[in-house]
Amino acid sequence: MDFEGIHGRLGAISAPGLSGADRPREADPEDKKDGGRAGDAFVQVEPGEIAAFLAACRDDAELAFDLLVDLTATDPDAQDERFWIGYQLLSTTHRHRLAIKVFVAKEGARVPTATAVYRAAQWHERECAEMFGITFVGHPDPRNILLPDDWAGHPLRKDYEFPTEYHGISCE
C-alpha cells in the first residue's frame, strides 16, 4: 500500500491517537519565503496513545507492520518547545513502510514505551532517552546505552553545552 492507502486504512480501523498526516508539497509560487517541503509523508499521533497505535498497526491484517525499524527523536531548534519522536515501521509481508511522528513538549518530555509492542524499541528508547532526556514511561531497563552512566546532559539537544572536562580528562 502507498501512504494514502495506509492513511485511509488507519482511519477505517480508527487507530487510537491518529491526529493527522503531513505530506511533502511544492513551494507556493505566491509566497517567496515558502520553499515547500521535501521528503517523506508521515502520520501524526498523540503522544499518550502511541503504544496502542503501534499495536493497531502491527495487528491489523491489511497493515501488518511487523518490524519496528527505527525509533528516534529530533530536536528541531533550541527555540522550539517540542521534540519530534519518529517511528519507522515496515511490513515484511506487504512490503510497505510508514513514518509516524509524535510531538512532545520538551519540558518534562514523557511518552509511553513501545517495548511491549516491539522489543526492538528497547534499545532505541534507551538511546533516545540518554540523548534527548525523554522519559519512556514503563521502560523495563532505563539505563544509558552508549554514554557512561554518569554523563551529564543530553548531547543531541540543541541547547547542549559541551563539557570541558570529564573525570579529570580535559575535553578542550
Binding site: 520553499g35 515547500g36 527505527d70 519518529g86 515484511t92 512490503r95 526492538a120 546505552i145 554514554l147
Partner: protein, 409 residues
C-alpha cells in the same frame, strides 16, 4: 550445582572454601573434612578487549557452571558522536563520517547517506553512476561477507579459511584503491553520483575478479561451511525463531537466516535493484534449517556465504549493460537541501541501514539519524544466549556479525 554431602548441602555458601560441619571421625581417629566448592553464579566479562567480540564490546555473561543464565551487552566504547557531528558539518562534509560506522562496508554506507539526501533533492542520478554504485556496493558486500566468513571460522578455531578470505578481500580492496585511492574508507559514492569515472580497464578487472571468485567460492563452501566440525559447532546453536526475529527488529542475513523471505533490494526496490529483480538477476537466499533447527547459527552463516554468489551475479549483470555517460549529477559545491525530512533504508551487508535526515533548507543538517543494523541485531543476544553453553557464546556472537563501529556510531 552444589556438591551434595550426605544428602544435604551446606549453608551458607560463603566465599572461598568452606569446611563442612559434617566432618566425621574416621576409624583411624583422624577427622575427615568435606570441602565445599563455592558454587554461586559467576559473572564473566567477555570483552571489551576480546578477539571474538569483533571490536570493543563487552558482554556481561552470568554463568552457572558451563551454562549461561544471562547475557547483557554493554556498548559505547566506540561512540564517536556521529549523529551530533552530522548537525555541525555541511551535507557533503558529512560523507567521510559515514565511512566510519560500518567500516567493512563503507561503500554501502556512502550509498545510504547519499540516497537519503537525494530523496530530498529530487535530483536525477545518471545511469552510469547508478551502475557504478551497484557494482561498488555489491563488491563491498562480498568483501564484508568475506570478513564474516573468515572471522567466524577464526572464532571457532579454523584459521586457514580466514587467510583464504583475506586473499580475495585484498584483491577487492586493490580494485577499490584503483577507483578511488582508498582501501577502507572510500567516500567514492557522492551525493548525486560517484566521485569519478573508472580508470581504463577497471571493469575488465572486476570481471576477472568475478571469474576467479566464483571458483574460490566453491572452496569456501567445502572448506568451512560443509566442514563436519564446523557444522557440529553451529547447527542447532543460537536458534532465533521467526517471531523473535521480527520482534527484535532484525534485518538482513539475520532475518533471512530465520526463514523470513525479505530483502530490501527486491522488496522495496531502490536504484537499479527493481530492474535487477525483474530481470531475475539475483535470488534471495534463505535459511532452511538444513543442518539443524531453522534460524540457527549455521543458517545465518549459510545465507552470508551464498549471498556472495548473488552479488557476483548482480555485478555481472551490471558489467553486461553499463554504458558510457556522465557519472555525477551537476550539483553545487556548497549544497543546500530543501526543507523537509526523509528516511531511506537500504540493504547493507548486515541488514537495513537507515538514514533519517532533517533539513531546514540550509547548508547544514538539522538532524542526521543513523539506524545501524548491527545495533538492532546485537540486542537479540540478550534473548538467545541464556540457556546455552559457555563454549557456544563465541559461536552465537560471531553469527550476529556485528561491527562495533556501527553499533556505537
Amino acid at each position: 550445582m552444589m556438591i551434595e554431602s550426605q544428602g544435604k548441602t551446606t549453608e551458607p555458601q560463603a566465599a572461598g572454601v568452606v569446611l563442612s560441619e559434617k566432618a566425621r571421625t574416621l576409624p583411624s581417629g583422624e577427622r575427615e573434612f568435606m570441602m565445599d566448592v563455592r558454587t554461586a553464579d559467576l559473572e564473566v566479562n567477555m570483552g571489551p578487549q576480546h578477539p571474538a567480540t569483533h571490536g570493543v564490546m563487552r558482554i556481561l555473561i552470568r554463568t552457572d557452571g558451563e551454562l549461561i543464565t544471562g547475557a547483557q551487552p554493554h556498548l559505547g566504547y566506540l561512540h564517536r558522536c556521529a549523529e551530533k557531528i552530522g548537525e555541525n558539518v555541511e551535507w557533503l562534509q558529512y560523507l567521510p563520517y559515514t565511512d566510519r560506522y560500518d567500516y567493512l562496508a563503507a561503500m554501502n554506507n556512502n550509498l545510504g547517506y547519499s540516497m537519503a539526501v537525494e530523496a530530498m533533492l529530487g535530483e536525477e542520478i545518471p545511469r552510469r553512476a547508478q551502475m557504478l554504485r551497484t557494482i561498488c556496493a555489491e563488491l563491498n558486500r562480498i568483501g564484508s561477507h568475506l570478513i564474516a566468513f573468515g572471522t567466524y571460522g577464526l572464532d571457532l578455531g579454523a584459521i586457514t579459511p580466514f587467510l583464504y578470505a583475506f586473499r580475495e578481500r585484498e584483491w577487492m580492496m586493490a580494485l577499490f584503491e584503483k577507483i578511488c585511492g582508498a582501501r577502507l574508507t572510500y567516500s567514492y559514492l557522492r551525493i548525486g553520483g560517484v566521485f569519478n569515472d573508472t580508470p581504463p580497464g577497471w571493469l575488465g578487472e572486476v570481471e576477472h575478479f568475478c571469474d576467479v571468485f566464483e571458483e574460490k567460492h566453491k572452496e569456501y563452501v567445502d572448506l568451512l561451511m560443509m566442514n563436519h566440525i564446523f557444522v557440529k559447532r553451529t547447527a542447532d546453536i543460537g536458534v532465533i525463531p521467526a517471531e523473535m526475529a521480527l520482534d527484535f527488529g532484525l534485518t538482513g542475513p539475520m532475518i533471512r537466516g530465520s526463514g523470513i523471505d525479505f530483502d530490501l533490494r527486491r522488496d522495496t526496490p531502490y536504484m537499479l535493484y527493481g530492474e535487477l529483480a525483474d530481470a531475475g538477476a539475483f535470488d534471495v537466499i534463505l535459511g532452511s534449517g538444513a543442518k539443524g533447527a531453522l534460524g540457527d547459527c549455521w543458517d545465518r552463516f549459510y545465507v552470508r556465504v551464498m549471498e556472495m554468489i548473488e552479488s557476483v551475479k548482480i555485478i555481472r549483470w551490471c558489467l553486461g549493460s553499463i554504458e558510457p555517460g556522465p557519472v555525477i549529477a551537476p550539483l553545487p559545491k556548497v549544497l543546500k537541501v530543501p526543507a523537509g525530512e526523509a528516511y531511506v533504508g537500504i540493504e547493507n551487508p548486515r541488514g537495513e541501514l537507515g538514514h533519517f535526515v532533517v533539513s531546514d533548507g540550509g547548508k547544514v543538517a538539522r538532524r542526521v539519524r543513523v539506524r545501524g543494523p548491527s545495533f538492532c541485531n546485537l540486542a537479540v543476544l540478550e534473548a538467545i544466549m541464556p540457556g546455552t553453553l559457555l563454549a557456544d557464546a563465541v559461536a552465537i556472537v560471531g553469527s550476529t556479525d556485528v561491527v562495533i563501529g556501527e553499533t556505537d556510531r
